[in-house]
């Protein structure tokens, strides 16, 4: 059974046909070839496939594609604006907050959602927010540092 859905993906309207049992992860990767959404555990444990759904971080492996009809999806491609990196992306580069990079898109989106609702998070709040994103390279400290730095950058930009 094909279902036609419309949703906003990184500020662009997308219209696709999908099936009831297709996950958002599969729709984004296999249909739309958004390969920045990484396939990890597919049981909602590792966070590699994190995307923003109406601004909130979700494991796209746990969301059925038809349920995003009429909603807003952001992947890491949606972070940079007018050819300029998001302050989080800049901070991740500057603070060496990545190693193999496989968790990075998911971590960036989790961090974006955090800073959107809590522009000046404490270290504890950052740790709490990141607890659904595994980084097997163990770059957690660098990731936390980068999020703190990005928070500062955003505040400076808004001044």
């Amino acid at each position: 059974m094909l279902i036609r859905i419309k949703f906003v993906l990184n500020d662009k309207l997308v219209e696709v046909e999908t099936e009831p049992n297709v996950t958002l992860l599969d729709l984004l990767r296999e249909e739309l070839r958004i390969t920045s959404v990484k396939r990890g555990c597919e049981v909602g444990e590792c966070g590699a496939c994190t995307v923003l759904l109406d601004g909130k971080p979700v494991n796209s492996c746990l969301i059925l594609a038809p349920t995003i009809d009429g909603r807003n999806i952001v992947t890491v491609e949606g972070l940079a604006r007018d050819g300029k990196l998001h302050p989080l992306q800049e901070a991740f580069i500057e603070e060496f907050a990545l190693q193999c990079g496989y968790c990075t898109p998911g971590v960036l989106l989790t961090a974006k959602a955090l800073l959107d609702i809590n522009p000046k998070p404490t270290i504890q709040e950052i740790k709490e927010a990141l607890s659904g994103n595994l980084c097997r390279c163990g770059a957690y400290q660098q990731i936390i540092n980068a999020i703190l730095k990005a928070s500062q950058k955003i505040q400076n930009n808004n001044r």
């Binding site: 496989y102 400290q141 936390i144």
Partner: protein, 791 residues
């Protein structure tokens, strides 16, 4: 030393692709007209396929391969060792599965879903055989045979008592050494069985080419060994196979060998004559590889003034159902042990045993974290028995500069030329306030603080001055472009630690180039020369050595051509990076204007028909120098829940010259997080009933640390030494970054509770049980004392 780029904070070249989602991993490769594959795996830990019928899926149009369709040839998926050290017992697909998850057949269809449906239509009848899970039981008489015959050095050998291979070593007079000892300690240790959980599950995409060759994109730590193996299994000329280099979503040793998805996808692609993509799920990945589980028995002697005399080590390794690198691991485990502390006499007995479990392979440290955990526990215990400070005791006995070192096993020996052990231990002790640490077992109350330390090392590569049983060399190609940049072409894979970034700095340093002018270009087996594999912490040391040697050759050519243009002698010319012009400038010192940029020179060389400035070099490292680390860990033990939390971690390292300080620091952080996980959390448990892992491959039930589990403070420092055999004095780091972590954590837990653990991981359950036992003993002791006093 005065470097213009080495040791400086610079942005890593792959960071932009990684933060924008543009980086391509094997799992991101999709080809036109591609089929998708699924693999049928044994549900039994030990069985024989009596009948297999693939007619139904084939009628449906699916492409099916079984053990009948693949070459009947045993192979070893890892090609790092020489043939006399390579045991072959693998098949691409088998009719006698020896673990739950062993591939029997595979299917390719237009979609993954169709492939799965087709897979479910294959009819298989199994004869279920008795499995054996315990290594000690497996090696006893009369147990089910997991393998009858295997291949070593192209000869068939018989497997006796499920013993895969063994290694015994003896040096010096051990009896005499024990006679001279005042204390002889005997301990038994059992390690856990870990799962790498590199975040990227293993993938292979295989495209058959018109000339009968193949193009392969896959998860790997070695593109050249992948092509050699596929050539060996399928009898395709090696030159017709091209393996592409991609980013790797974590390795940690799990892709040193060619992953089984590669030959399976090859078999399907050859049959289908279409590209095939085979992507394992996380559950399948967890059924594909695990770490080795080991049982150690140690007997070590020491004199009362604190000099170690001799030691005996027995190592029984549960390797699972197949050999990836069990034999060389028997050698390195001996090496890890004897290269930690000086012993005048040693005896080692290593036995690798088959069991009906998921095959084991190297896992960051290749047995070193486990051996170091055991040895550093014993060193702590001996220091306490002798009444010597544990740090002083270690400094009295460690293997250091000028000593013979054979970390990579008995065939890989060299002399240590750089060593910062003493400074690591002294500085670390000061930062953690070692002198004021709690007294072991004296604390009361629910929360108990403990401070522990351990030291260790790992080899940088497996190089040596003479040939050994390990293949270890790298290669590089460098060419100067007409815009003054340099293309660096290497087969060496960056696991994520930033190895290639270090190479770029080494090249920039040697050629006087701005760092941005070194391009790390895409590569494959067709366009590169051989590199063995990214393992053994060899990337910066051995791969960097190749990059440096090649850069030196390029520099000679630059100076030779520049001497013609500048009318000066080549050996009087100098090169400096001119950041403003964004170029390397070749100049004559003291004569203003006598200069030319590298871009101008390369362009001129074209017009004058002097040719391209380029070089290609293969490089064998002359040693495998140890990089040293020291861990100081402060923990808090909750005696009501058994939960241990890290409070503060101090890690010191001697990696020779630090090429990339921030990335090196990242390795130490990552080393702690993984070490913490292996000390406290991770263990693959097997169900005796199903023969499967109890978590069934779901990481929901296989926990590992998140951001919430790291301590508030991780302090790292580097002791700078200069390794004369390394590129600009550098050594490796990736594995030494973790090796002593487990030991230091275990020693900290002892310091907090007075309890030693001889089995990993130290879970809250085990901790509570031991705490209760200890309390009861204490009570009994108090009662006895009370009775004696009043009786």
């Amino acid at each position: 030393m005065n470097f213009h780029v080495i040791g400086k904070k610079t942005v890593r070249k792959d960071a932009l692709a990684k933060v924008t989602g543009a980086e391509k991993y094997a799992s991101d490769i999709y080809l036109p007209n591609m089929l998708h594959a699924r693999v049928l795996k044994s549900p039994y830990a030990h069985a024989r396929v009596k009948r297999i019928d693939t007619s139904k899926p084939e009628e449906m149009g699916a492409v099916v391969v079984t053990f009948k369709d693949v070459p009947d040839r045993l192979f070893c998926p890892r090609l790092v060792s020489t043939p006399e050290a390579t045991y072959k017992d693998w098949r691409v697909l088998t009719d006698k599965p020896a673990f739950v998850g062993e591939p029997i057949a595979a299917v390719a269809a237009e979609t993954e879903e169709e492939a799965q449906k087709a897979l479910e239509m294959i009819e298989v009848e199994y004869e279920v055989l008795e499995p054996v899970f315990d290594p000690l039981e497996s090696m006893s008489e009369g147990k089910p045979k997991i393998h009858e015959k295997i291949i070593l050095n192209d000869r068939e050998i018989k497997v006796e008592n499920n013993i895969a291979c063994r290694l015994e070593l003896q040096e010096g007079d051990l009896d005499e050494a024990f006679r001279r000892s005042d204390i002889i300690i005997e301990r038994e240790f059992k390690t856990s069985r870990g799962y790498h959980n590199q975040l990227e599950p293993k993938v292979a995409v295989v495209k058959p080419e018109a000339d009968g060759g193949l193009t392969i994109w896959c998860t790997t730590q070695t593109i050249h060994n992948t092509r050699l193996l596929i050539s060996e299994i399928f009898n395709i000329p090696v030159s017709k196979i091209n393996v592409k280099k991609l980013a790797l979503g974590g390795g940690f040793g799990s892709s040193i060998q060619t992953n089984i998805v590669v030959p399976i996808a090859v078999a399907l692609a050859l049959k289908a004559r279409r590209p095939v993509r085979l992507a394992y799920t996380k559950e399948e990945d967890m059924h594909e590889h695990s770490s080795y589980q080991m049982i150690f028995r140690f007997k070590i002697g020491v004199t009362k003034d604190g000099k170690l005399t001799g030691g005996y080590m027995e190592n029984i390794m549960d390797i699972g159902a197949h050999q990836v690198q069990a034999y060389p691991l028997l050698g390195t485990c001996a090496g890890w042990w004897v290269s930690l502390y000086k012993l005048q006499a040693v005896k080692y007995v290593g036995v690798a045993v088959y069991t009906n479990k998921i095959p084991s392979c190297a896992y960051r440290g290749y047995g070193n974290p486990q051996v170091t955990w055991a040895v550093e526990t014993i060193m702590d215990e001996l220091a306490e028995m002798l009444g010597i400070d544990p740090i002083e005791f270690r400094l009295m006995n460690y293997v250091g500069e000028g000593d013979l070192f054979w970390g990579q096993g008995p065939t890989v020996k060299s002399i240590i030329k750089s060593c910062g052990v003493e400074e690591i231990l002294r500085r670390g002790a000061e930062i953690i306030d070692w002198k004021n640490r709690p007294r072991p077992g004296e604390q009361k109350g629910r929360f108990r603080r403990g401070v522990g330390m351990a030291r260790g090392y790992h080899t940088s590569s497996a190089g040596a001055p003479v040939p050994s049983q390990v293949v270890d060399y790298s290669g590089a190609i460098l060419k100067v472009n007409e815009d003054g940049t340099v293309d660096y072409i290497t087969a060496l894979i960056d696991q994520g630690g930033g190895t290639l970034e270090a190479h770029a700095k080494i090249i920039a340093e040697e050629l006087g180039l701005p760092l941005k002018n070194v391009n790390i270009v895409s590569a494959d087996t067709q366009t590169t020369i051989y590199d063995v594999c990214t393992h053994a912490s060899r990337g910066v040391y051995a791969g960097g050595g190749a990059a440096l040697n090649t850069a030196r050759k390029v520099k000679e050519k630059i100076l030779e051509l520049a001497s013609k243009v500048l009318n000066a002698y080549p050996h009087t010319l100098k090169i400096r990076p001119d950041e403003e012009r964004g170029q390397a400038v070749i100049y004559v010192e003291g004569i203003p204007g006598k200069e030319i940029t590298l871009g101008e020179l390369a362009s001129l060389a074209r017009v004058k028909n002097w040719g391209t400035i380029a070089a290609i070099e293969s490089y064998r490292p002359p040693a495998c120098p140890p990089h040293f680390t020291g861990y100081f860990v402060e923990v808090l033990v909750d005696t009501e829940t058994g939960i241990v939390k890290p409070l503060k971690v101090v890690i010191g390292a001697d990696v020779g010259t630090v090429i990339n300080p921030d990335l090196a620091e990242g390795q130490l952080h990552g080393g702690f997080v993984m070490g913490w996980s292996r000390a406290i959390l991770e263990d693959l448990k097997y169900s005796k009933e199903t023969g499967d892992v109890e978590c069934r491959g779901f990481i929901l039930d296989y926990k590992m640390p998140t951001a919430k589990d790291i301590p508030e403070e991780i302090k790292t420092f580097f002791v700078e030494t200069y390794e004369p055999t390394g590129p600009f004095g550098a050594k490796g780091l990736g594995e030494g970054a973790q090796n002593p972590a487990i030991a230091a954590i275990a020693n900290a837990i002892y310091n907090a509770t007075g309890i030693r653990f001889y089995e990993l991981p130290i879970t809250p359950e085990k901790l509570l049980e031991k705490l209760r036992e200890k309390e009861e003993k204490q009570k009994k002791h108090e009662i006895v004392q009370h009775l004696t006093k009043n009786g």
